[in-house]
């Protein structure tokens, strides 16, 4: 589904990713872990098209398309969606406007017409119940005055409505208490299927108890230095990152 080859990325002249390669297949859940400043968030941000990142070499291919040639909105329409670590507040734009405009944009890109209002209402109500959110959230401005946990739920709500082929979640667990974490994890798990893939970026093993990944990658200084299965995450939790650093230096 997604292939990243020898990706080099700089931000304001500093090289953050220094030759990163990975492949994500449909149906898989990948987790990227690593110490602070290792470039974890950069990968998902570059895939989603965040503008201040400069790709100096390498490639990202998604279902045969050159991702780096696609506009931000085209990537989202094609099913590459990023759940932000710090979701932006958009005063005055109601959640429901965002959800409907985004869903219709995706449908338009897929050659479908606008979603009929009753069908949309039914879908929204179902998803908002899944996220254990109150319907009044829909009338509120996007993320405005939301608590940290509400913002994260709102990111997942968007995912549930838009059903991305590849959902990328950047530190979706930060700022969540244990109950909210379960709701968010259940939401993410409901996205899992043969057709969908998920890329989790996280600092802590904790999230991976709830969303068990197929592959875990350790990112250090802009490169993946170790990959493994879910056991690798547990090992990192108990032993920290130092042994991986030593191993990769050797």
């Amino acid at each position: 589904m997604l292939e990243v080859k020898d990706l080099h990325v700089t931000v304001e002249g500093n090289e953050i990713l220094k030759g990163l390669s990975m492949t994500i297949n449909a149906g898989e859940v990948h987790a990227i872990m690593g110490p602070n400043g290792s470039g974890k968030s950069t990968l998902s941000a570059v895939i989603a098209g965040k503008e201040e990142y400069e790709v100096t070499s390498g490639s990202i291919t998604y279902e045969g398309r050159d991702v780096l040639e696609m506009a931000v909105e085209e990537r989202a329409q094609a099913g590459l969606l990023l759940g932000f670590q710090y979701p932006v507040e958009i005063p005055g734009v109601k959640n429901i406007y965002l959800l409907k405009a985004a869903l219709n944009a995706k449908r338009e890109a897929e050659g479908l017409g606008e979603i009929p209002a009753p069908e949309f209402m039914k879908l929204i109500k179902e998803k908002i119940a899944e996220m254990k959110m109150d319907a009044s959230f829909l009338q509120r401005s996007v993320n405005e005055g939301f608590s940290g946990g509400e913002k994260k739920r709102n990111e997942i709500l968007q995912m549930l409505v838009l059903q991305p082929r590849l959902a990328m979640l950047d530190e979706i667990d930060s700022g969540l208490d244990i109950d909210a974490m379960k709701v968010v994890a259940d939401g993410v798990n409901s996205l899992r299927s043969e057709e969908h893939a998920i890329l989790l970026v996280t600092h802590y093993q904790r999230l991976l108890d709830y969303i068990v990944p197929d592959r875990v990658h350790v990112l250090v200084d802009g490169r993946i230095v170790k990959s493994g299965d879910a056991d690798l995450a547990r090992e990192l939790e108990s032993r920290g990152y130092d042994w991986v650093l030593e191993e990769s230096a050797a």
Binding site: E51, V72, F84, I96, L98, A105, L138, Q139
Partner: protein, 449 residues
């Protein structure tokens, strides 16, 4: 005398015929207006109050006076707000009884075209008319006085609470030649009376008429008036208006100055806060596109202690549109314990759009709370990115954010028919792909559940 002023005054001959039934004082007032206009001439950009607004499009225009109010009822209906209301309709300034709805006026409410009030009630009208907005106020008020013959008089007896809004509808017609009108509006709200006044300027596409409006509003003790001025005149119309409000103790005046139409628009809104606890709220929204010029001048005069003014104006300018905002708060000596707040924010959607924003405070008392601020900016790129990251194209994202900006004023509007109309009008000026109607429908449906 300049040719330009003479050109306008020549038209006075058209109104002098057939006015025998009028009181004699009206002719004297018209003469005083004409004399003053002649002496002042049209304002130029050398006049501080007109520094950013060039009125040569008016001064050099040729405008006749309309002499009939013919308008297809179906077209008029299409231009009418879907609100159950008492309504006086004017076509190019001429009263149109057939298009008006005057039946069922509650007791204590008198709503008349000025022409009728001058005949039937001239003693009551003669005193207040021209007291707040004299011929000295501006060349346009003098010109209005010179041509004073039609308009509206609304009087509310003490304690009268009017449930339905009262509408003054001004239709601008596309004719063979442009016309001018000088409507004069007088509102006298007795003690403890309450009403909502809608002033709706709208017309036929392609019209290019000049409207020169003067409104005087007197609120007695404890009176409450909400005044919506919805100006969506045809895009070639020229529109000058002054609204002068006098507020007694405990009265409350709320103004919504919503400007969408017109080629050249200037509104002066002034409130005299004359008694303790008098409060005025000024809300404004203007949207300019093409080469529209929209000028809003406001003034809150705190003439008494314990008075309150609050203002929030938002401007959206696209293409080569030019906006002017001048908001002034004046606190007289001894007007202690007053509060005057003012905020103005403008959004420029194009590099060539322009805004001149000037907040002013003049304070001669020492125990006051006042603040003012004005900001001008472009749309928030971070928010645009956040929307695009959900698949929403840039144009639609800009549209959503522009609407959100306007929404901060529209959410204060108490009449859904007006806020929805303005929201749709703003959305309509945004790129076509953006189906706001569909979004609003869903939000409304959800709200109704």
């Amino acid at each position: 005398m300049s040719e330009e002023t003479q050109h306008f005054l020549d038209r006075l001959a058209d109104i002098r015929a057939g006015r025998e039934s009028e009181p004699t004082w009206i002719a004297a007032r018209r003469q005083a207006g004409a004399a003053r206009f002649e002496a002042m001439g049209f304002p130029t950009r050398r006049d501080e109050a007109w520094k950013y607004t060039d009125v040569r499009a008016i001064a050099r225009g040729e405008f006749a006076l309309a002499r009939d109010a013919e308008f297809s009822p179906a077209s008029a209906a299409a231009l009418t707000l879907p609100i159950d209301t008492h309504r006086l309709t004017f076509v190019d300034g001429v009263f149109a009884p057939a298009l008006s709805t005057l039946d069922g006026l509650p007791e204590g409410v008198s709503l008349q075209p000025l022409s009728a009030a001058l005949v039937e009630n001239h003693e009551a009208v003669g005193g207040p008319l021209g007291r707040l907005t004299g011929v000295e106020f501006s060349p346009f008020s003098a010109l209005n006085t010179a041509f004073m013959e039609e308009g509206a008089v609304l009087r509310l007896a003490p304690g009268t609470v009017v449930e339905k809004p009262i509408t003054l509808q001004f239709l601008s017609r596309r004719g063979e030649a442009p016309v001018m009108s000088h409507p004069r509006v007088l509102v006298q709200a007795g003690g403890r009376s309450q009403a909502t006044l809608i002033e709706h300027h709208v017309g036929e596409e392609g019209a290019a008429n000049f409207t020169n409006l003067v409104e005087e509003v007197i609120l007695e003790r404890n009176a409450i008036l909400t005044h919506y001025k919805l100006q969506e005149a045809p895009l070639a119309d020229l529109h000058i208006a002054s609204i002068h409000v006098e507020q007694a103790r405990d009265s409350r005046y709320t103004s919504f100055n919503l400007n969408l139409g017109g080629a050249l628009v200037r509104t002066d809104l002034i409130s005299e806060l004359n008694g303790e606890n008098a409060t005025c709220d000024f809300y404004g929204l203007f949207y300019g596109e093409g080469r529209q010029h929209v000028d809003s001048h406001t003034l809150a005069n705190h003439n008494a202690p314990h008075t309150f003014s609050n203002e929030n104006y938002k401007g959206i300018l696209d293409d080569r549109a030019h906006g002017v905002f001048n908001g002034k708060v004046v606190v007289k000596r001894d007007s202690q314990k007053i509060e005057g707040f003012q905020s103005n924010a403008n959004l420029l959607l194009s590099d060539r759009a322009e805004i001149d924003a000037k907040p002013e405070l003049e304070i001669y008392a020492d125990d006051v709370k006042c603040s003012h601020g004005t900001t001008t900016g472009q749309l928030d790129e971070e928010a645009i990115y956040a929307l695009r990251s959900r698949g929403i194209d840039r144009q639609t994202a800009r549209g959503l954010l522009t609407l959100a900006f306007a929404g901060e004023v529209l959410e204060e509007v108490g009449l859904d028919a007006i806020s929805e109309r303005v929201e749709l009008a703003v959305a309509g000026k945004l790129p076509e792909r953006f189906n706001l109607a569909g979004l609003v429908e869903v939000a409304v449906a959800l709200d109704d559940e």
